[in-house]
Symmetry: C2
Subunit: 428 residues, 2 copies
């Protein structure tokens, strides 16, 4: 990895958020803004609105004009306060457009004397950060680029875990625990099944996290279906029957990207694609419910948490929120120290009591690499994460973020979002 | 209404829970057990397991053997700690079975010297309580029967509102607020729509309650579809388009029982019936999403909160939990004072600051009557509850129940559930 010169670089810092939001991506933003505010090398702190798209459109917000209390309140505010996007600079499919985009980005960087560029996002966004870093080197434009990890999917490699994951795991486990209490209290002789669909297109980390609701061997969830493990309908139905016979109810958690034995998605609508060309998924739970009801004649209900799970700041993990802020702070420090082309990673310290620190990892190793749940962290039958996973995940959901209330509902930060005056002609 | 003699009646109290659980039905149970424990007329407090079904099976729990801390902890514990049921004593459809059931119930009441019977539930359960009250009078068996209101649907008549409603309204409004933050932060030029399905088969109180998330005219929810208002697809689609043009996103909340103009359910699977003969509903949100995507070609996602919304004790309303407990206490006091055949109701006091007290209303006026959202509490176009509704609902979500945490997840009460020794032969 290239290292730019270690000398002091004075200029402006631009931070942007990308991809699907999380409950704590704004906590990283707060960490960036606060750390940058303390650092004499950073003149001004700008936010790119709607990620890379806002930079292309020279649509920048002046973070220095926000009140410090608002920045602090970002630590309990869900979604992407600066807005986010799923815009991809795709040199393979659209080389000319990508080249034009790159030119424009660097016009904006130069016009606003951006010397530090921090991008918070998941796999695709780290890929974008890597491309921008390499382009800066190629052009000899002195700018340090650091990725800030963010994804509920927990699928970035080389980091112990990703900011956003602890909160989704906490909220989903709590929800499973509450639903299980409800369903079990309704369970009379005829039995019932409840199937809860959670996010996770390729990686099963989110579905796996609900095992933390399991406080006793018989308690829910009873079956967790992971996208990494090919679905076997017969074995699944037998397990549901068995559970209902024993307990009179069965709680199933399914990751939306559950796969059949042939690798195709259990419930995919391939006629619709998202901006990255992935098929849109919906209804793994509904597809399973039809089978459970149809084959077992068991009352079956579904829950689809969807966006609720990744925005549930009212029940975010304090550990996660603190680590997210620490990743933002570490990104600023790394950039100011002269690093570029790295993503901040979380390193788990040893010891009986959980603690973590941050480190750096080369973006080129991270971009577009998906870190899946290890097979040996799941029971042999594939239906339940095992003790190795639980030991890993348990500390990540510890602590509750304190969210102030107003009229019985959370009071979230609202940025003033003052625009930085435009210096360039409009993007063509 | 018949009033049994006012003289002191000394005997045992039996409490049971019925119908769909709520986040605070256990708070009512705590109120009953605590108030009964303070009253010298009540010798022992028993719980019927799984409602009336447990009484028929002489399956009683000895609440006196629970620790006081456990009873107190019920105030933050979701679901029905005693178990619940949807068992109906149906003299119209099954008169012989109903008569046998009644005989059996009174055998159990007599065998265990039950002189106070409290039943927490919604419309169907209050009907059961009414029948038991009338039967006690007919048989000359001295037992006082009081209904404790409970339903997230908020559709019991003659009470200002129902315990359970404030908590579901709070959780759902919070969820809508969080999802809206997420979706709006993702909204770029192509626009997107998110449709959130909430409970409510006939009454729109639950869907309406999400209006409390709306802090500014442009904020979500943008459209609320109520089961009481016949659905007009064209007008709906025009409103979605208009909202997306203005804001680039649109948040729709739909009550599961949305009706077409002909009164049929927008998304009902009539081939499946629940124990009370209602068609099972599912997928109003999915049905709407198909239309929005199909007709407007707009990215559309759905969320189906299902059981999560009624069991979300981690974000229950403190006002609701306190009123639920107060209803339980009031039921005991009324019974001991000689009342029978009544349901406790909540009375809103006047004054600038919200407060409530309890009263009694004859069960015969309540059983099987559904209280729907008044038409003049909804905007003329039918898409949004108005100020009258907001004034009514706003105080009900105030305050957060403090739930202790253990390992990052809520710590709920678990009853020891010691059985009362059986005195009768098994039910035939």
């Amino acid at each position: 990895m290239l290292r730019l010169r270690m000398a002091e670089l004075i200029g402006n810092l631009l931070v942007a958020q990308s991809g699907g939001p999380t409950a704590v991506i704004n906590s990283s933003l707060a960490g960036v803004v606060q750390e940058a505010g303390r650092n004499p090398c950073v003149s001004r702190v700008y936010g790119g609105r709607n990620g890379i798209l806002g930079i292309l459109n020279e649509n920048l917000a002046d973070m220095g004009r926000e009140r410090p209390e608002t920045i602090e309140a970002l630590k309990h505010t869900p979604a992407a306060a600066l807005g986010t996007c799923r815009y991809k600079i795709d040199f393979k499919k659209k080389p000319e457009k990508a080249a034009r985009d790159m030119d424009r980005l660097f016009q904006v960087f130069q016009a606003h004397n951006i010397r530090y560029f921090l991008y918070a996002g998941g796999n695709d966004s780290q890929d974008t950060a890597d491309k921008i870093h390499l382009e800066a080197v190629r052009r000899g434009y002195e700018m340090r680029v650091i990725g800030v990890p963010k994804t509920i999917d927990n699928d970035l490699p080389h980091t112990d875990h990703c900011p956003g994951y602890g909160s989704v795991a906490k909220y989903n486990a709590c929800t499973v625990m509450e639903i299980a209490a409800d369903v079990s209290s309704m369970a009379t002789d005829d039995g019932s099944c409840c199937i809860i669909e959670v996010m996770g297109r390729s990686a099963g980390w989110i579905a796996a996290g609900t095992v933390l609701a399991k406080r006793e061997p018989g308690s829910a969830p009873h079956i967790i279906l992971l996208p990494e493990i090919p679905f076997n309908e017969e074995v699944f139905l037998a397990r549901v029957s068995e559970t209902i016979r024993a307990l009179r109810y069965c709680i199933v958690v399914v990751g939306e990207g559950l796969k059949k034995a042939d690798g195709s998605e259990y419930s995919a609508d391939k006629s619709r694609l998202d901006a990255f060309g992935h098929p849109l998924l919906s209804g793994a739970a509904d597809a399973l419910a039809e089978v459970v009801y149809g084959r077992l004649n068991t009352k079956t209900r579904t829950v689809k948490l969807g966006y609720a799970q990744r925005s549930a700041a009212h029940y975010a993990s304090a550990t996660d929120a603190a680590e997210a802020a620490a990743c933002g702070e570490a990104a600023v420090r790394a950039a100011v120290e002269g690093k570029s082309g790295f993503m901040v990673k979380i390193i788990r310290r040893g010891g009986a009591k959980y603690s973590s620190t941050t480190g750096l990892h080369s973006l080129s190793d991270i971009a577009n690499v998906e870190h899946l749940l290890p097979r040996d962290w799941v029971s042999e039958d594939g239906f339940m994460p095992n003790e190795k996973f639980i030991e890993y995940a348990r500390p990540l959901i510890e602590g509750e973020v304190k969210v102030p209330a107003e009229g019985g509902l959370p009071k979230f930060a609202v940025l003033q979002n003052k625009s930085v005056p435009r210096l360039l002609p409009a993007r063509t």
